[in-house]
């Protein structure tokens, strides 16, 4: 607890008051007289501007700025002590295992703490399923490999299904869920917020920040980010509309050292999406956009793509679903085939397929919508958790065919 309080204190370093920095009285008074009260105020001016404003010589300004900088600068650590700290204090040195062996191996343990992990893919591919499973994993007791904590799930599209989550739990961890009251306890640790307007979304985020420390929140899921934030910042828009949310969520992840999972939508590739630099125009390398049918790109634009640390792309190609690590500083670009079953998401093979080139970032979009939990209805033990009537609708946009199965 004390460690996180220290971190919160650190964040106000930029707002540290000059009057409390122990500068020589004369210069401190001059700063105050000219309305420069915080480190931020002082460091936002160049040294010549300060000389003009404060009416003192260059040497004095340089000394003052140097002292202010030294005091406002955050403390350093060696990379070794960072590693030791994480190994000592955090679960698996800062990872939430997904129980998908191949993926966990690629991510050096699982979803990392302290950074944003993004799940992007076309509708119906399984992003929400993944989120539900992760929420469950975070709430499990540590004896079963969970984080033994609370989860905040921000559901902007009303896709959260507690029945489905409990189904996943019962099928993946039957030994826990068979215990009386366990399902209720696990479900009780997951707090679902459903903002309906961008303003409500912003307020949600503020409230989350305040309650993170008090309530032992171990995972934050935002499903989805794109729904309530308008625009994707492409083109001339200098002030990215997503800007505030992006930095806020990033700093939230960093100072609370929890995993933050965010889902993102896709949109079709428009002619305006840039792929080349000015020096590339002379080389005719335009094979990139046309190689894949129904070619899609992630929404929310380039600044968002820079802000996430891990990008997991979920896509479907020739009837097979893939989850691929498109951006990660710890992993090679590998893709795994996966399927959705009663126990959530499972990998079909734990050995990933290594990808190269444009394949890594491309999102293939043959859209499949598949709601099928019929397989578990025969399990009499679990029958009280399931709907009486299941409908399976499978359709493929490319083939324009429909198949309806009731059972």
């Amino acid at each position: 607890m004390r460690k996180s309080v220290n971190r919160v204190w650190r964040r106000v370093m930029a707002n540290k008051l000059i009057s409390e920095m122990g500068l020589p009285k004369s210069i401190a008074n001059i700063f105050a007289a000219r309305n420069i009260h915080t480190a931020k105020d002082a460091l936002s001016l160049t040294e010549f501007e300060l000389m003009e404003l404060l009416d003192v010589g260059l040497a004095e300004v340089t000394t003052a700025v140097s002292s202010i900088s030294e005091i406002s600068c955050p403390p350093y650590q060696t990379a070794l002590s960072l590693l030791e700290q994480r190994m000592h204090n955090e679960h698996l040195a800062g990872h939430l295992p997904t129980r998908l062996k191949g993926l966990d191996a690629a991510l050096c343990g699982g979803i990392p703490f302290g950074v944003i992990t993004e799940l992007v893919g076309p509708a119906g591919i399984g992003k929400t399923q993944f989120c539900l499973k992760l929420s469950l994993l975070a709430s499990l007791p540590s004896s079963h490999g969970g984080l033994d904590g609370h989860v905040v799930y921000v559901d902007t599209e009303s896709k959260f299904s507690s029945r489905r989550m409990i189904e996943i739990g019962v099928n993946s961890f039957p030994e826990i869920f068979q215990i009386e009251g366990m399902a209720q306890q696990m479900a009780g640790r997951i707090l679902v917020l459903q903002p309906t307007t961008p303003t409500e979304f912003s307020e949600c985020l503020q409230k989350i920040k305040d309650s993170l420390l008090q309530h032992h929140v171990k995972l934050l899921v935002i499903d989805s980010m794109a729904a309530l934030v308008s625009g994707d910042g492409q083109g001339q828009c200098r002030q990215h509309p997503l800007g505030w949310h992006m930095t806020f969520i990033k700093s939230l992840a960093e100072f609370s050292r929890i995993p933050v999972v965010v889902t993102n939508q896709v949109r079709s590739h428009s002619g305006d999406d840039p792929f080349h630099y000015s020096f590339q125009d002379s080389r005719q390398n335009l094979d990139f956009p046309t190689t894949f049918d129904s070619h899609l790109v992630a929404a929310l634009g380039i600044p968002w793509a820079h802000a996430v640390s891990i990008r997991l792309v979920l896509e479907s190609k020739s009837g097979q679903r893939f989850i691929k690590v498109a951006k990660s500083s710890m992993s090679p670009p590998v893709a795994f085939t996966f399927a959705i079953s009663a126990s959530g998401i499972s990998l079909l093979h734990d050995d990933g397929i290594e990808m190269t080139g444009p394949e890594i970032n491309a999102i293939c979009g043959q859209v499949l919508k598949h709601f099928n939990v019929a397989s578990s209805i025969n399990d009499a033990h679990n029958i009280k958790y399931f709907r009486d009537f299941e409908v399976t609708v499978v359709y493929s946009i490319k083939n324009w065919s429909f198949r309806v199965v009731c059972g």
Binding site: C73, W244, F279, I302, H306
Partner: protein, 349 residues
């Protein structure tokens, strides 16, 4: 030289001029007490002004070079600089092709900006350089330490460990392949030794970013072995919060100057990682590095990492001494390496 160009406060300057002291030579033989009386300021302040004036205008300056054409300025001849440039060490990137187009590696006296789309490998290159700067002298390295300023939280310690371990393996291979005739030598380094030599700063606002760059001068004087400063990324905190673009340009300009001064003063390499943005030019949207046109002038060297077909390429976009070229590279489990290295190719240093 004019009094108006002295670095003193505005009111002092105004008083000097109104009292009739317009050129520096007029201050050369006056006593502080006399000046204080004339200007109506304290004797201490007068002494200060005279000191500044003498530093600027004094004819006796010891100039290290042979010919000083210009009096009163610290200058070096190009001949002296040539010797310096040739003896300047370079940090290898572990990719032979990339080192080739860079003239041996990243230069240790300049600011190099590296930019690219997300996921192209900027942080990877930053981590590789933070490790490679530590390679011992007997393996052709600089035996230096690194400062890693992380503004985005992309520094993953597990990855740094992987790259360090691979570097140690490479050194062991170098020994076994190239020093067969000589007595066996053990590489006594562990991955943790490499980690212990990276000084990590986590920056959360643009104020902290400016503060750390100001503080670096003192920090590096106290830790003399630092040979590389990596800022990952320089862009992040300057992209979102700014309504005042003019302020942003001024602050970025100030930062660039301070970093150049650091690079020169301590003979270290400064690496700035930048993001990309789009710009509309020639009828279409193109990719370009972020932070605008005035920033693009600020860095000495500029390398752009980009996708070309199936491979990652680095393109030298701007450099005063190296010609523009592109080279392929790969990001592997061991770090940055050559693209088509199937054999155990060891970089000869």
């Amino acid at each position: 030289m004019e009094v108006s160009s002295l670095p003193i406060s505005a009111s002092h300057r105004a008083k000097l001029i109104s009292a009739g002291y317009i050129s520096i030579s007029s201050l050369s033989s006056i006593s502080p007490a006399h000046l204080a009386r004339d200007l109506g300021i304290s004797e201490n302040e007068a002494t200060g002004i005279l000191k500044v004036a003498s530093q600027r205008g004094g004819p006796e300056r010891t100039i290290p070079s042979h010919h000083s054409i210009v009096d009163g300025l610290r200058a070096q001849t190009a001949w002296d600089m040539l010797h310096e440039e040739e003896s300047c060490r370079r940090i290898t990137t572990s990719c032979a092709d990339l080192d080739d187009i860079l003239g041996g590696g990243i230069s240790c006296k300049e600011v190099t900006e590296i930019g690219g789309v997300p996921g192209i490998g900027k942080t990877q290159l930053g981590i590789q350089l933070a490790i490679n700067v530590q390679i011992p002298l007997e393996y052709g390295g600089l035996a230096g330490k690194a400062v890693y300023i992380d503004t985005e939280g992309s520094f993953m310690v597990e990855r740094v460990q992987q790259v360090a371990e691979a570097c140690i393996k490479d050194m062991q291979e170098y020994d076994s392949f190239l020093r067969k005739d000589l007595p066996a030598r053990q590489v006594n380094l562990q991955a943790n030794d490499f980690l212990a030599n990276i000084y990590y700063f986590r920056i959360c606002s643009y104020t902290e970013q400016i503060a750390v760059i100001n503080y670096l001068e003192k920090f590096i004087s106290e830790h003399k072995d630092i040979k590389v400063v990596i800022v990952d990324s320089i862009t992040f905190h300057f992209r979102q919060d700014f309504d005042d673009m003019a302020l942003r340009t001024r602050l970025l300009g100030g930062m660039a100057l301070k970093l150049m001064k650091l690079a020169k003063k301590f003979t270290l390499a400064v690496i700035l990682l930048n993001q990309v943005t789009t710009k509309y030019s020639g009828g279409s949207f193109q990719l370009t590095l972020a932070l605008g046109d005035s920033w693009s002038h600020a860095c000495t060297n500029r390398i752009i990492l980009y996708w070309n077909g199936n491979g990652r390429y680095a393109h030298i976009d701007k450099s005063p001494s190296i010609r523009s070229a592109s080279a392929p590279y790969a990001v592997t489990g061991r770090g940055i390496r050559n693209l088509a290295s199937n054999c155990k190719r060891v970089k000869l240093m």
